[in-house]
Every structure is written in structure tokens, then in C-alpha cells.
Amino acid sequence: MKIEASSFKDYDAFVFFESGELFRKLSENYLPVYKKFTESGLYSRLLSENLIVGHEEITEDTIKPEKVFISYPWEWCFSQLKDAALATLKIQDIALDYGMSLKDANCYNIQFVENKPILIDTSSFEVYTEGEPWVAYKQFCENFMSPLCLMAYKDLNLNSLLLGNINGISLELTSKLLPFSARFNPNLFMHIYLHGKMQKQYSQAENQKQIAQNLKMSKFQQKALILNLIKTIENINLKKYKTEWDNYYTFTNYNEVSFGKKQEIIKNYCTELKPARVCDFGSNNGFFSRIFSDSGAEVFSFDIDKLAVEANYLRAKKENEKNIFPLVFDMVNPSPNLGWNNEERKTLLQRLESIDVSVALALIHHLRFTYNIPFYKMAEYFSRVSKYLIIEFVGKKDSKVQMMLSHRKDVFVDYDEEHFEKVFSEYYNISDKQKIDSAERTMYLMERKNAE
């Protein structure tokens, strides 16, 4: 038995692996609560509304949840974080109807399955005691409301503050960072500014226990609070603005013929490889990812740009696409190991399993010229991800590359097709190479050497 490194905070249960399978062990004290959770009908209700991970009962105190890919809130776009927040509130609202309540509301408990946010922590519930306030209110505000407000009112990239504050962004910090105008939103004023002040005010109070014991809130009042939180979250919206990549496919370096040819080559590679799982690095809005997902593959569609991922996610949601998973991923600044003993949160490569094909289209010139990543580093990285690699070489005469080099000295003497092939050949066998008509670009299909 190997206990999951991040599963140590909750007295009621822990997650462990055995023979590669995932299990959740419930404590003896928690068994009556779990019984109420299933027998009250709450579990079935949440399952029917796609709000909780399904599980199988193995023994009286051990359940086997479905395995899901774990992503982190700093890898989500704005709408993914918003949907995760709303799912948490919806679960709490439903749980109250069944005489139960969420005892925590952290953003790691919500994961995306088929682009729907679900609760993965089956032991997150406690029996609701009439009159008790919601114990996870503070955690909800710090884990969801803070990053959402910062993304909407200040900067789209500010959910990455969770990287340095994995237990949530404090309301004091959020209050300092938000623009003055945010105070005029009455709900944000209450849940962020006033909330931060109250936390500070009561932190020094000597009679905290007595105060907490005297606080009473009826179920109707708590439901009104949850409804208010839902409305508050629903009304946090992104300002309409464009980033560098938002309209990338409208302004590509391809004419219609070349773009068609590129699609055709990728479709052929997809037909040839028949991959089950694909990682598309630098996928923009997921245009090419969909060639793979449409063929039935499960596709991780990564991009550094949060608006591109936003567009990708919103489309997947609208079209009810189940096997494309848009995520924010910065290859030059990837998710690190974080938390206690650097084990609670894992790197992307530790979380990705059984990837058949990596896709890197119109990517390597950005890595080389903007971030100075040499070819051998790229080849080494991709070869760790998957057996096959579909990669596009972008020549120096390409107008985008010309633009990148226009304001700097061209020191990249080794940036050419010959050197690219030589370096990648140390890691891969080049199975196919095709020039894209009327463009300075070449497509490659490669197979990792000594592939198992």
C-alpha cells in the first residue's frame, strides 16, 4: 500500500494506491457519516448531476473511486475556475437538502472529467448540525473567490498566485491587490474586503471559542448565503480583451492551401498512429487538437495563453466535447512540486500517464528564439512524454521568425533544418517528413529510439 502524498490532512479518510489502483480508506469514526451520505440519497443525486466522482465499494471501509487526471487551479483558465467554484456551491446547496454539509471547499477537491467539474473527495461531507455556520466559507473565499476576482479585476494571470499560496490567497492580500473600484461591488465588499477585516479583527480576540459557540445560522439562512455566493461568482466576469494569441488562426502565416495541407498531413499521421492519448503542446484554441479528439483520442490541449485556453474550453463546453481537455501550461515555467515535502502537488510529467503522441505545431521557433531553449532540450523533453512526436519545423525565412529576430542579433547559427534533424535523430527515428507548400515550414513524424 502506498499512501498518496497529498492525502494526510483529513482524519476521516486517506487515499492510497495498491497494484496501481486507487482506493480511499475511511476511518471507523467516519463510517456512520459515509453511511448517511449514501443512504440519504445524496451520493446518487450528486452522481446523477455529474457533480461527484463515482466509486465502487470494496469493503465496509474501503472504496475505489474512478481515477481522474489531476489538474491544478493555476493550470485552469478563468471559466474553468469559475465552473469549479459554482460546482462547489451547488454541491453544498444540494448537500444541505440531505442534511449534510461540505466540511472543506478547496480548489484541489474539484477536478474536470469530460470538461465538467466534479468533486473527487468523497469524504468531504459531514452531517449537518442545525444552527451551524458553514465551516468552509473562509476556505471557499480564499480558494475560489480571491483568484477569480484577481483574474477578472486585475490580471488574467493572477490565479498563478495560488502557486505560492497553495492553501488559498488570503483575503487581506486580495484586498490590497484589487483595484479600488472593486469595493463598489457590494458582494465583493462583503466577501472579500469586510471578510478580510473581520478575520484580522477577531484573530486577536480572547473569547473566540465563546463567540463561535454563540453563532447560530438556520438552514434557510445558510441556503440564502450559498445562493448569494452563487450570484456573486456568476457576476464575476472577464473584461473583453485580446491577447497575443487570441486570434492566432485568423492571422497565421499560412495561406488557405498551406493550412489545408497542414491539416491533411496531421490527419494522415492521426490515421496512421491511431493514438489513445495525445498531448498537444502550444495548441492555441485547440484547432489541431480536434483532429485527434474527433478521431476518438483523449487529448490534453495545452497552451501558455489563458485566453486561448478560455476559448478552447468554452468551445469544448458548448459542443459538449468530452475527450479534449484544455489546460494552461507554460513549458518554460511548468508546474513544480509543491506543498509539504514538495510532494502534495506534482509536476505535469508526474501526472501524465500513457501518452502515445506529443504534438508540437508552430512551437519550436518560440521556444528557440524567445526562450533560448536549444533543440536537444526540446527533443529530450518530448521524448520523455511519448513514443511518437509530430513536430513542425519553422524556418528562419518565415515572417513570424523574421519578426522575432528583427530587434535582436541573430546568434542562432545552428537553427536550420539540417541541425534540427541531426539533434532530434539522437532521440528519435524520423519516420516521415513533408514540406508544407508555399510556407517555410516542414512537418515531421518521429518515433522514439529504443521505444518500449
Binding site: 490532512k9 455556520p133 466559507y137 476556505q139 462583503m190 484573530s203 473566540q208 448565503l225
Partner: protein, 71 residues
């Protein structure tokens, strides 16, 4: 003396059967608890008013023969 032991024993049992105190691992923060109680009171009043308003509106719609679909 016996009475003191009785009281202590009762307090001990109460402490054991109070799962909130025994197993909660999250610090809810006193300030957060106070604030949410206040917000919950205010929003509950608002919600009650809204529910009354809706029932009054639907009552009048009912007696005037209009329904929601017509809007």
C-alpha cells in the same frame, strides 16, 4: 466530591459525542464565522422578501388569468 466527578464525566462524554469538535480539521476562523452569520441573516431577509414578492405576483397573475409563458 462525587458530584464533581459526575460533572467532569458528563463533560467528557459530551466532548466525545460532539463530532464537530473532535474531527474538524479545518480552521473556520472566528471572523469568517461572524461575518457569514451576518451576511446569511441579511440575504435570508432578502430571499424571504423575494419569495413573498414572487408568490404575490403569481397570485395576481392567477386571478387575472395571465401566466409566465405570455411574457
Amino acid at each position: 466530591m462525587r458530584n464533581i466527578f459526575k460533572v467532569l464525566f458528563i463533560l467528557f462524554v459530551i466532548n466525545l459525542i460532539n463530532p464537530q469538535a473532535a474531527f474538524a480539521y479545518l480552521d473556520p476562523n472566528t471572523g469568517s464565522m461572524v461575518l457569514q452569520t451576518i451576511i446569511a441573516c441579511v440575504t435570508a431577509i432578502g430571499l424571504t422578501f423575494k419569495m413573498w414578492k414572487n408568490s404575490v405576483i403569481s397570485f395576481f397573475k392567477k386571478i387575472t388569468g395571465k401566466n409566465d409563458d405570455e411574457n
